[in-house]
Symmetry: C2
Subunit: 226 residues, 2 copies
């Protein structure tokens, strides 16, 4: 049985799940869904109605994993040696702090404002973006990127000495905004180097091939050396 | 060195951390904080500025854990045998799905509306609660409680056959609303039995002794048999 991942290509949670599965080299059939449509198959699989959902098998029995958190946790549980969770207690705490940060703060302050204007409005035909939403969302994004730049001044990766779930979750969020040309890379040199390292990994390739209806990505979106 | 937990007694995340530490019998000194005040010590410890934060030591070195997710994860990492995460892959996925549900859906739909009216407004002196907020928050709460009642019709505990982080997180949220008399227990008999079992555990005792400024708890709040 081939595992099937139901995902929305521009949903940061879906991208987090794809990156973790890709890093672990777990082959899945990617099925894009549109969660706002009444016949979206995810509605019958996840009580929240939202992607990502992974249908797979575990020890010979079917297993349905709902939400990025469950998929990333399961991916890590499958590993004989830690892959995306560091062994060090302090770094593990940072991974968990940062994933919470993206799940709540970044989602509420940036995505709910800026992605609402740039992505949800065209998808749901809610009219053109509004200047105030764009301005507020971009101001919030700058604060978050400054924070990430600061962390990378102290560490190789966001949570410490090795790449972790925190990097994948952060890159998932940043990559969606980058598609829409919202990341002013020249202001964040450390973040740019970090993102280039991630972008060059095989797990990132499918994300760089995603295309949003009627809107080409920012020119550098799929360039590994930008 | 005694571990110190900075918490706000009516913050569901703080309560989740206290319950997990209590279940694991990890002794901590509980220091109540008021996160909205300028001199709150958590502001210097957690970039989000919010409790819970645990200051402890790990293998002889100081360790600061920010956010309930990091504290619960660390508690579990300390165990020789699983305590609050089931071994079964399907149940682990359910724990992670449900903690995501409470972190996002329950927080946004119930807490941000109903606890805003009942708790934040008096704390921040924002005036009396408004009827519309109360009505919407209570309608959302009913839907979430019906969902939990449904899960308990199929399972002993929320995520499966054993008590897990999902039960503690759910009980943390429900217990705050119960203080304010917002849970109509007679409509949810399975949830009531589940909550009585949790409430009787030693980890719950400190929560039942919490008191909110100027407001006594609902009469049954601290009764183990209500």
């Amino acid at each position: 049985m081939t595992a099937v991942l139901f995902h929305f290509p521009f949903d940061p949670g879906s991208r987090s799940a794809r990156l973790a599965l890709g890093e672990a080299r777990i082959a899945v059939e990617e099925t894009g869904v549109r969660p706002w449509e009444a016949d979206c198959p995810v509605r019958d699989l996840n009580p929240s109605g939202m992607p990502p959902v992974l249908q797979t098998a575990h020890q010979g029995r079917p297993l349905t994993l709902c939400e990025a958190n469950a998929i990333m946790g399961w991916v890590e549980d499958q590993q004989k040696t830690p892959l995306l969770m560091p062994a060090d207690a302090g770094e593990r705490a940072e991974v968990r702090r940062l994933t919470t940060w993206f799940d709540r703060r970044f989602t509420d302050e940036v995505n709910a404002v800026l992605l609402h204007e740039r992505m949800e409005k065209p998808l749901l035909r809610l009219g053109p973006p509004e200047a105030q939403g764009l301005r507020e969302g971009r101001a919030a994004l700058r604060e978050h990127l400054v924070m990430l730049e600061g962390l990378l001044g102290e560490r190789d990766w966001l949570a410490g000495r090795r790449m972790s779930q925190a990097d994948l979750v952060a890159a998932a969020h940043v990559s969606v905004l980058d598609y829409f040309g919202e990341v002013a890379w020249k202001s964040y040199p450390l973040l740019k180097t970090w993102y280039m390292r991630l972008k060059s990994r095989p797990c990132f390739r499918p994300l760089l091939a995603d295309r949003f209806q009627g809107l080409a990505p920012a020119p550098h979106y799929a360039d590994l050396d930008f």
